[in-house]
């Protein structure tokens, strides 16, 4: 469903992604690991359509679309969802109002009836229960004053409401306590099916014990330098990244 070919991306005239190639099929879970500043979030932002990231060359196909031609909102409507590494606080915009608007935009796009306030609340409360979140978070402004873990949970809550086809989770595990990690992983796993693909960006192999990936990639200095199965993550846990960077230099 997603074909990224030789992607070069710059921010503020600094080249960050330097020839990234990645294929993701329906139903697959890909984990992306890699050192800080290697470009993982950049990849996630580019896929979601952030205008601050300039695509210098390369292409991204998503199903039948040239993804780069779609606005962020059009990508969302096509089923792309990014769980942000740093969810944005939006004072004054109520969480319920925000998510009801978003859910109804997508439902309309998918030819479904819009949900009224009552139906939406019912749906929202059910999702919150599975994520063990308190209802009071719904009434608050989007992410405002949420703790780090609450923000991450709120991202997964949004994902569960929007039911994307391709979900990008950018370090959703950082900032979660051990119990919360399990709850969030359960939320993600509940959404796994034959149609839906995930790209899970993480620094910790522990998350991958709960969300078991089909593939693990190492992103280093703007490129994927090694791909493997889940055993690669275990190896990285033991050895770090230095040996791969060395290998790349040799190669």
């Amino acid at each position: 469903m997603l074909r990224i070919k030789n992607l070069h991306v710059s921010v503020d005239n600094k080249l960050i992604l330097k020839g990234l190639t990645l294929n993701v099929n329906k139903g697959e879970v890909h984990a992306i690991m890699g050192p800080n500043a290697s470009g993982k979030s950049t990849l996630a932002y580019v896929l979601a359509g952030h205008e601050g990231y300039a695509v210098e060359s390369g292409e991204i196909r998503y199903n039948e679309h040239n993804l780069l031609e779609l606005s962020p909102e059009a990508r969302a409507c096509e089923g792309i969802f990014l769980a942000f590494q740093y969810p944005v606080e939006i004072p004054g915009v109520n969480n319920v109002y925000f998510m009801k608007t978003a859910v109804n935009v997508l439902r309309k796009k998918r030819g479904l009836d819009e949900l009224d306030a009552v139906d939406f609340m019912e749906l929202a409360k059910e999702k919150m229960r599975t994520l063990e979140m308190s209802d009071s978070m719904l009434k608050r402004a989007v992410n405002e004053g949420f703790s780090g873990g609450e923000k991450k949970r709120n991202e997964i809550f949004q994902m569960s409401l929007l039911e994307p086809k391709l979900a990008l989770l950018d370090e959703t595990d950082s900032g979660l306590d051990i119990d919360a990690l399990k709850v969030v992983a359960r939320g993600v796993n509940a959404l796994r099916n034959k149609e839906r693909a995930f790209i899970v960006i993480t620094h910790y192999q522990r998350l991958l014990n709960y969300i078991v990936p089909d593939y693990v990639h190492v992103l280093s200095d703007g490129k994927i330098v090694r791909s493997g199965d889940r055993n690669l993550a275990l190896e990285l846990e033991r050895r770090g990244y230095a040996w791969l960077q060395g290998e790349q230099a040799v190669a």
Binding site: A48, G49, H50, E51, G52, S71, P72, E73, R75, A76, C77, F81, L82, F84, P87, V88, E89, I90, P91, G92, V93, F98, M99, T101, A102, V105, L106, K109, A141, V142, Q158, L162
Partner: protein, 447 residues
């Protein structure tokens, strides 16, 4: 009836005025007051940018305009016409002014006349001027600027309210000012005088609407006096026509432990000025000024909010937010002046502006002047744009760019509407703002 007289705003002559039939013409102190005020206008003219309080204001269009003195309204205003001023779910005592004159037919004066003294200022000047002699022009100095001078010289009608001691008015009093003039540019010099006796309480709403799409000028001076422990909440919605000029001074004098609050929304007019000045003349007064302005296209919206702490233990707040788009210009000047005797004053001032277009302009100048040593004062001003990260976050959830912009703009303004204690008024304000944002966006799209 006098002939139709017109004058270029800045070249008005004594002779042109002498042909006007103005209320109180047989009362010496009133004619003296008018005479003196007109002399002040002759020597000062309209304010220029050299005057600090008008530094960023451009009054050229107003000064060049030729204005006609009002004649009797031609159009018969109906209930339907005042619809845009009606606030849903809010019961009020309604007073309607059509083209500067009180309209008995549309007003509900009798209903409250049993509780308080309320009358047309014109009638008051004609028939019972001595009751207002101790108050009229005693709070708003007619030499303050050319607009107040002109207003004092030419005032014709407005509202006079006197709240007796201990009276609590059960419903807000809504003053609806509707302008109907069609072709000729007309000016109206409206004068309001509100006297709140000790321990009295009331809410007053001023609504400005129009059936006109031509040029007109509402020049309004409102004087308010609050006796000991009086509480007055003042609400204002300015939705004048797009060609209109609107210049309003609200001058408040507060006595001991009185509380005044202002909640104002400025949306209309080609040029509008909202000037509020409060004097905390005795101990323990509270004054909260809360306002929101929006300007698009080539609108100019100008706000001046000044609180003078003259006695100890006063609290003042100035919270203003503005949304500026198109080629519009917004001007804000806030002044918290703490005089030497005003120890333990607590003054806070905030002005935040959202610039939605590269061609829009904001000039903001918050200012503290402090001459007492034991005080708590703060001020701050910002001019910013929509938060790009927030915009992307909303869009990444499928919300269209325009909707996302509106949502963020609306949430920016919500801090002001959230502070409005009268819930139906707050809801109405929010609904109006949504319309204004939508309207401004459609205009932007057309460009």
């Amino acid at each position: 009836m006098s002939a139709v007289i017109q004058s270029r705003a800045d070249r008005l002559t004594r002779q042109q005025i002498s042909q006007q039939v103005l209320p109180g013409a047989s009362v010496p102190w009133i004619t003296d007051l008018r005479e003196a005020a007109f002399s002040q206008f002759e020597s000062s003219g309209f304010p220029t940018p050299r005057v600090e309080d008008w530094k960023y204001t451009n009054l050229k269009a107003l000064q060049r305009q030729i204005f006609r003195f009002p004649t009797l309204p031609v159009i018969k205003v109906t209930e339907r016409d005042i619809g845009p001023a009606i606030i849903p779910d809010l019961e009020v005592y309604r007073v309607v002014f059509v083209d500067g004159l009180l309209d008995e037919r549309l007003s509900q004066l009798q209903e409250i006349q049993s509780k308080i003294h309320i009358a047309s200022l014109g009638d008051q000047l004609r028939t019972n001027a001595k009751d207002i002699e101790p108050h009229l022009a005693k709070y708003a100095d007619s030499g303050l600027n050319g607009f107040v001078s002109l207003n004092t010289a030419l005032m014709r009608d407005g509202i006079h309210i006197h709240l007796p001691k201990n009276v609590v008015v059960d419903k807000p009093i809504q003053l609806i000012y509707i302008t109907t003039t069609q072709n000729d540019a007309t000016w109206f010099h409206l004068r309001n005088l509100i006297i709140a006796g000790p321990n009295s309480q009331a809410s007053i709403i001023e609504s400005y609407i129009s059936l006109s799409d031509s040029v007109y000028f509402n020049n309004i001076t409102t004087e308010v006096s609050l006796a000991k422990n009086a509480r007055l909440s003042h609400y204002k919605i300015q939705q004048e026509a797009t060609q209109a000029f609107h210049v309003a001074l609200l001058k408040i004098q507060q006595q001991q432990s009185s509380q005044f609050s202002s909640h104002s929304l400025a949306f209309g007019s080609k040029y509008s000025r909202n000037e509020i000045r409060s004097e905390l003349s005795a101990q323990g007064c509270e004054c909260v000024l809360n306002g929101l302005y929006h300007a698009g296209e080539r609108q100019q919206v100008d706000t001046l909010a000044r609180v003078d702490h003259l006695a100890a233990n006063g609290i003042s707040r100035e919270y203003y937010k503005g949304i500026v788009t198109g080629k519009a210009k917004a001007i804000f000047r806030g002044i918290s002046y703490v005089h030497p005797d005003a120890q333990h004053s607590d003054a806070e001032q905030k002005n935040n502006n959202l610039l939605l277009s590269p061609y829009a302009e904001v000039d903001t100048k918050p200012q503290l002047e402090i001459y007492a040593d034991d005080v708590k004062c703060s001020h701050g001003a910002t001019v910013g744009q929509l938060d790009e990260d927030a915009l992307f976050y909303l869009r990444s959830r499928g919300i269209e760019k325009e909707t996302a912009c509106d949502l963020l703009t609306y949430s920016f303004a919500k801090e002001i509407t959230d502070r409005i204690p009268l819930a139906p008024f707050a809801r109405h304000a929010e609904a109006l703002l949504k319309n204004v944002l939508r309207g401004a966006r459609n205009l932007e799209d057309l460009r």
